[in-house]
C-alpha cells in the first residue's frame, strides 16, 4: 500500500523580478516504512518539495495524497523537521517535546505518556527538566526528533536535519535516528547534501536535477544485509559503487 503519492507537482515562485520554476512534473510513490533519501544540486527545490508534501506550501499544480487522502494544508499525519533544532530556550526539554501536542490540542494523558516513553527510550528522560542550553548539539537534535515523533506522524520529513552537527556527532545521531525510525516504523523522506549519509540511511535515493527540478532517477539501495545500520552500510563494498553512481549523476554529465 502506498502511504504517500505525489502526482505531477509543479511549483513556480513569483517575485518582483520574475518567476522561478522550482519543481516540474514531480511524481512518485512511497511505501509504508520506506526511507527515501533525496539528493540534488543546491537550490534545485528540495526544501520546496518537502514544504509541499507537509502542506505548509500549496503547489502551483499537482496533488499530494497521504494514505489515499488529498493533502490540503497541514495534516496530523506528517511530521516535518528542519535543519535547526529550534528548541524554545525558555521551555524545559519535556515541555519542548510537548509543543507539537499543545499546538494540535492533542495533549492527552496517552500522548504525554508516549512522549515520556520516547524520552526514556532514547536516553533523554533524566534531562527532561533541563533547558536546551544545557544540552549538547546531538542531544538537542534528538529532542527535536522526539518532539516531531510525539505527534505520532505516519510520515516524517527531514530537511538537512543533521547538517548543523559536527561529523562525529552526526554519525552517531544518524545511527540512533535510523534505529528510532525503523523501530517506530515511520516512513521517512530525508533531504541531504551528504551523499554517504543518503546511501547509509536510504532504502531508495531520489536524485533531482538542476532547477527546474525533475526526478532524474530513483535508485534502489540494497546491501543484502539482515540488519543494516548506517554504520555497517558504510563498510560494505557496495557503498562506493553507489557513491560513484550518485556522484556521476549529480556532477551532471547529461
Amino acid at each position: 500500500m502506498d502511504i504517500l503519492k505525489v502526482v505531477n507537482i509543479e511549483q513556480k515562485y513569483q517575485a518582483e523580478n520574475g518567476e522561478i520554476t522550482a519543481l516540474k512534473e514531480i511524481s512518485f510513490t512511497v511505501k509504508k516504512g520506506e526511507f527515501i533519501s533525496i539528493v540534488g544540486p543546491s537550490g534545485c527545490g528540495k526544501s520546496t518539495l518537502l514544504s509541499i508534501i507537509s502542506g505548509i506550501l500549496k503547489p502551483t499544480n499537482g496533488e499530494v495524497y497521504v494514505s489515499g487522502e488529498r493533502v490540503d494544508g497541514i495534516t496530523s499525519h506528517i511530521g516535518y523537521m528542519l535543519q535547526k533544532d529550534n528548541l524554545l530556550d525558555w521551555r524545559t526539554i519535556y515541555k519542548n517535546v510537548l509543543l507539537g501536542l499543545e499546538i494540535r490540542n492533542t495533549k492527552t494523558q496517552e500522548n504525554m505518556e508516549r512522549a515520556e516513553n520516547l524520552l526514556k527510550t532514547y536516553g533523554l528522560y533524566e534531562f527532561r527538566d533541563k533547558y536546551p542550553s544545557q544540552l549538547s548539539g546531538g542531544m538537542r537534535q534528538r529532542v527535536a526528533l522526539i518532539r516531531t515523533l510525539a505527534i505520532s506522524p505516519d510520515i516524517l520529513l527531514l530537511d538537512e536535519a543533521f547538517s548543523a552537527l559536527d561529523y562525529q556527532t552526526r554519525l552517531s545521531v544518524t545511527d540512533d535516528v535510523f534505529r528510532i525510525l525503523k523501530q517506530e516504523q515511520v516512513t521517512t523522506l530525508m533531504v541531504t547534501h551528504d551523499i554517504p549519509e543518503s546511501i547509509s540511511m536510504g532504502d531508495k535515493i531520489m536524485i533531482l536535477s538542476e532547477r527546474p527540478a525533475v526526478i532524474k532517477e530513483i535508485l534502489e539501495i540494497d546491501f543484502e544485509m539482515e540488519t543494516r545500520t548506517p554504520l555497517t552500510c558504510r563498510k560494505s563494498p557496495k557503498f562506493s559503487q553507489y557513491f560513484n553512481h550518485i556522484w556521476r549523476e549529480l556532477s551532471g554529465n547529461e
Binding site: I56, L82, N86, W90, L99, I103
Partner: protein, 268 residues
C-alpha cells in the same frame, strides 16, 4: 574535582575582584559625601548664596517639616498618577503592537502616523489635553500616557518582528495558528523586550506626570516644585527634586525586581 578546595590562582582572582568591587563602592559613596559636604561648607562660609542654591542642612529640615505636614500625600499623588499612566501605556501599547504585528496591512497604513507621533514632543499637547479632559488627575495621566505610548508600540512591534523566523517556521510545521504562534513563540521570545520597554516607560511616565503637574498645579511633587519656584522657596524646590529622584529610582528598581521574578518564571 574538589569543590571545597580552590586553586591559588582562583583565590587570587576572587580576591582581586572583591577588592575592585569595594573600591568602586568607596568611590561612589565618597563622591556623594564630598559633594554634600562642600555644598554645605560653601554655603556656611557664604561663598555661595544659599537663598538661591539652598543648602543640605536646610533641605534636611525642610524635608522633616514636609513629612510632618503633607509630603506623603504629594508623593502618593505623583506615584499613583505615574503608575496608572505607566500601566495604561504598557497595556495599550502592547495591544496596539500585537495588532500591528498581526496585520502587516494595518502596520503599513499606520507607519507615517507613528513616525510623526513619535517625533512630536508630546508636552506640546498639554494644553489640548487639559481642555479636552479638564485640569485634573485625568489630564496628568493622559500626559504620561501620551509620552510613553508610542515608544511602547514601536519598541514592542520591533521586538515581535525580530522573533527568530525559524522558531515560527517550526511552530507552523505543527500547524500552529497565528494566535498560537504569538502565545507560544513570539510573546515568550520577547519577555526581555517587554521589560526593557517597561524600564524606559516608568521614566517616561514620570516625565509626563511631572509635566502634567506643572500645568495642572494642584498636588504632587511637580506641583511642589512649581509652587516653590513661584514663591521663591528654593529649599522646597530642592527638597522636592531630591525626593523625586528617590521616588524615580525606587520605581525603576521595582520594575527591575519584577523583571527578575518574570525571568525566573520563564527561565531566560
Amino acid at each position: 574535582m574538589n569543590n571545597t578546595k580552590i586553586s591559588a590562582e582562583r583565590a587570587a582572582y576572587l580576591e582581586s575582584r572583591g577588592r575592585t568591587k569595594k573600591l568602586i563602592l568607596a568611590w561612589q559613596v565618597g563622591i556623594l559625601v564630598f559633594f554634600v559636604l562642600s555644598w554645605e561648607l560653601l554655603a556656611q562660609f557664604r561663598l555661595i548664596d544659599s537663598f538661591i542654591l539652598s543648602q543640605p542642612s536646610r533641605i534636611g529640615t525642610t524635608i522633616i517639616n514636609m513629612v510632618q505636614y503633607d509630603l506623603m500625600n504629594h508623593v502618593w499623588v505623583t506615584v499613583y498618577e505615574t503608575l496608572v499612566g505607566f500601566t495604561l501605556g504598557v497595556i495599550t501599547g502592547t495591544c496596539l503592537a500585537v495588532i500591528l504585528w498581526w496585520s502587516s496591512f494595518v502596520a503599513k497604513v499606520s507607519e507615517p502616523y507613528l513616525v510623526v507621533l513619535n517625533s512630536l514632543p508630546k508636552i506640546a499637547l498639554g494644553p489640548v489635553i487639559i481642555i479636552i479632559v479638564g485640569a485634573g488627575t485625568e489630564a496628568i495621566i493622559f500626559m504620561a500616557l501620551a509620552i510613553s505610548l508610542i515608544v511602547t508600540v514601536l519598541e514592542m512591534l520591533n521586538g515581535f518582528r525580530h522573533t527568530d523566523s525559524e522558531y515560527i517556521r517550526m511552530a507552523s510545521t505543527f500547524g500552529a495558528t497565528k494566535g498560537q504562534i504569538f502565545m507560544k513563540v513570539v510573546f515568550p521570545y520577547n519577555i526581555a523586550t517587554l521589560f526593557n520597554s517597561l524600564k524606559i516607560n516608568i521614566g517616561l511616565s514620570l516625565v509626563g506626570v511631572i509635566a502634567g503637574e506643572f500645568l495642572v498645579s494642584k498636588a504632587g511633587l511637580g506641583y511642589l516644585i512649581v509652587y516653590g519656584g513661584q514663591v521663591f522657596k528654593m529649599d522646597l524646590v530642592m527638597s522636592s527634586v531630591i525626593i523625586l529622584a528617590v521616588v524615580a529610582a525606587l520605581m525603576y528598581e521595582g520594575v527591575v525586581l519584577m523583571q527578575r521574578v518574570a525571568m525566573r518564571w520563564y527561565n531566560h
